[in-house]
Symmetry: C3
Subunit: 368 residues, 3 copies
């Protein structure tokens, strides 16, 4: 049994199989209308996220399967204090596959440790949201016909934007990919993304504050929200905000075959006039999200033609590799902060540099 907690939980080959299947589904959805008949998907949403939840439900219904679950914690048993571990063990009796959204980082990893069914991380706080990344890949592949040799512009809040970090990670696996990071100084991509992902793999990148200058070079422009409260000051926000709003004027600077993506919801960082531009593909992206999830569900259920390797990509480290209850995770958003009965588990992820990380939220232990 395999889970999908992180875009890298599927190997390059496996990811490619899922993307190809998504593309096949897109071309002939009727062929898959009964592919998951008799199967049930549980949607376990500890915080509301209608778009993601309904995308999963649409995907499962399109496959002829059924859904059950809860749309927010206040209509669930979480209020009674049941742990994520016990909930997923019970849900394993009710469904064949589950998608979990949780405000705490590492919640899906905890659930996967105890789950009897394949688990999909539908977002765990600011940590991971891998089906958004899969959606982005399906969309890019469908629009450009390839994932290699692309110049990808990432624009907006690159500091806190979880989907941007995941996309960089996922695209870094393909050759000839180049990133242009467009953001105000205060919202630049974090140093660790550069040091951990881009530099080790020699991936070319540029950082700029100038969207207009970057536009002519791009194959894909990936927009994200820039929230007012993230700026250093109100003055800076007022000065800069328009630079990161994509409008019809700026679109004139973009190539004919540059496509605009956005994980949605947008607020005002893309004006509504851009929606009519044939290069605006963020709603098409929502459609691709359904195909991506259909392909993923079929694959994890073992119903796709290409089978996943029979190994745990979600690597439960052996007991001998675990550092248990020696120190506590300092990440205030870690699932361990609200589930006191959980062991505090750290794992050495980089023996050379002596880095160890929380098993759940992957936060580095800082040595104190």
């Amino acid at each position: 049994m395999r889970h999908y907690l992180n875009p890298l939980d599927l190997s390059v080959d496996e990811t490619y199989s899922v993307l190809r299947l998504a593309e096949e589904i897109r071309k002939d959805p009727a062929k898959y209308a009964h592919a998951a008949e008799g199967k049930k998907l549980a949607t376990l949403f500890y915080e509301p996220s209608t778009r993601t939840r309904l995308s999963f439900e649409a995907a499962m219904l399109n496959l002829g399967g059924r859904t059950l679950g809860f749309p927010s914690a206040n209509v669930s048993s979480a209020a009674k204090g049941e742990s994520v571990e016990d909930t997923i063990r019970v849900i394993s009796c009710y469904a064949d596959i589950a998608a979990m959204r949780h405000p705490k980082e590492g919640a899906a990893a905890v659930a996967a440790e105890y789950s009897g069914i394949p688990l999909i991380n539908a977002g765990d706080g600011g940590h991971q949201h891998p089906t958004q990344t899969l959606t982005d890949l399906v969309t890019i592949l469908s629009l450009k016909g390839r994932l290699h040799d692309l110049t990808i512009g990432l624009c907006g809040d690159l500091k806190f934007g979880r989907t941007v970090h995941s996309l960089i990670n996922a695209m870094s696996r393909y050759t000839g990919v180049r990133f242009i990071m467009i953001s105000p100084e205060a919202l630049k991509i974090p140093t660790y993304v550069i040091q951990d992902v881009l530099e080790p793999r020699n991936i070319p990148y540029e950082e700029t504050t100038d969207l207009e200058a970057a536009l002519p070079q791009l194959d894909i422009l990936y927009m994200t929200r820039v929230q007012r409260e993230r700026f250093a000051s109100e003055e800076e926000y007022q000065r800069l905000k328009d630079s990161y709003i994509l409008d019809a004027e700026k679109m004139k600077l973009a190539p004919e075959d540059m496509y605009v993506l956005h994980p949605l919801p947008r607020v005002n960082e893309i004006t509504m006039e851009v929606d009519k531009d044939p290069r605006a593909k963020y709603f098409y992206q929502a459609q691709c999200g359904v195909y991506a999830r259909m392909a993923l569900i079929l694959t994890l259920l073992g119903l796709a033609d290409t089978k996943l390797e029979d190994r745990e990509v979600w690597k439960r480290p052996a007991a001998s590799q675990r550092i248990v209850n020696r120190f506590a995770c300092r990440n205030p958003h870690c699932i361990t902060t609200i589930e006191p009965q959980l062991d505090q588990v750290f794992v050495v992820t980089d023996p050379e540099r002596q880095i160890c990380r929380c098993l759940y939220c992957e936060t580095k232990y800082d040595g104190n």
Copy 2:
């Protein structure tokens, strides 16, 4: 593609086709058990309305289709500030047809402008609730065998009662219909309903405060809630409330073949003893609501034998007819009040009298 935002969005002939189909379904539901197989209905309820939502869901399930959606805004993305326009565009990727309930007037009209799938207005504030009206027509037709030549009593809060206004509008299309409006002075039918609907079409009507006097003349008695806070004073409420409570005693004054309808929920305006009277048809009406919605869904999906005319009854006025951002809608309940990015659009609806109305909530521009 057609939407259903207003009872008048279907022509008299089209309405009749839907009513006939509902009647067919009522007689032989098994025949339609797979009629919408493979189709998905999205129920987008920005405010809870269990009865309406479950009626839609039952309808879709009865047709072999599937449902997905959200039961209230606090479990939806609305909290994240996504606009109705963007939501419906995404939902158009997930479902084949949608039913939307929203507390703001005109919300469904905004959604219809951007929707890629047929949209049904399941209630937009105090503005319209057309499937309730369709339900009322199905029920009356099934009980009386006709929609023409009927005396219809409307009792209770006729001032604020949205369903009453809609029913008057819808029934005014049939010949020989006569209305008796029974209400306290403070809750009389608004003048504009008389001036805009009844008088232009020469439809006979009476206004009275006396339910008992009206009862012997009626073919249908349509009851509505009378809310205490709607009265001019507590004294008036105490003095009048019993006059508008239907009980077994008053039912003795009614003809054998007069039927009682109520859009539900009732509070105490019909006593529980009346429930046993065979003329009490408000629960049967709930059943008819499912048939009405089944017929409407099939028709809008193009799966009914009788096809809708291929035109937009939801008339998007051409750009040249729109008065854009010249003045703002003054209706404090209009959807434009919470969606600042929406254009303020007015349309001249009556060139002779120089009346123009908000494109969404249909409130008249008052010239100031």
Copy 3:
């Protein structure tokens, strides 16, 4: 038409048929994958209970049926003040069978009075939760191969534990059953359970505060939550709490073939290390809950091979036996306290001892 409000609403024979069907389903679920096709279950949850709700939904989906409903009162029409009676009459138009959870005692009984479809009580306050009991019976039968000749340990909060009282009631129907009640003094089984159930049927029982001493004698250990606030004092809680926590050490005292059940959710009364013990069967019990509900749904819908007797086990007492509006139910949790329009109905349940009880919540009239 039959309802299931109380474990005793099914006769011993009928219960046995349901249990046997559940066992058949467990062994060959595929055989029942279409058994309720075309049928709809309404889940009416006036308070959230995710596990119970999803267990019902999983059961119905496993049978090829469909579900609709609401997960909590704040997303339902209850806020608009609709009565349970009117709601169930409307729901009877939408679904073929319903499961209702309500915080008030007797709510399901009120609903059953007016329901046009079979109604299952999914928990009415502290009163009854019969499908939990059915689940317990299915689990015990499946683990031990019998329901007779068993020593059952009940541990934890026996005073307020609704599931424990129901289980005693249900198991008291089988010969050779013996109970060992293990609890702190403050949380002992109520005297009326002993006087009303155990003594009249000469069922052997012991009361003890010592879990460790009881363990070697047990066939089944039924654990429940012990809530801190239920103890007489914080000191008592601190002194006693560990005695009622089941851990690996205590499990060494239990027989090889003693199984541990728990209605879930647990908080900390069973340590996570016990989960790995093959005798820990509380998650298996959750699985059995789905089979139990599948069997019950099929039986109430009349789709099981064995038909229920065509009588009302939910005995609506004839008008002549009802004491109407003579006195009010004093139970502050009774449904009548929030539905003022309901008649106050009492019924003489034991003419000899002159006991009469509220028709809905079954609270004794105390003569004042």
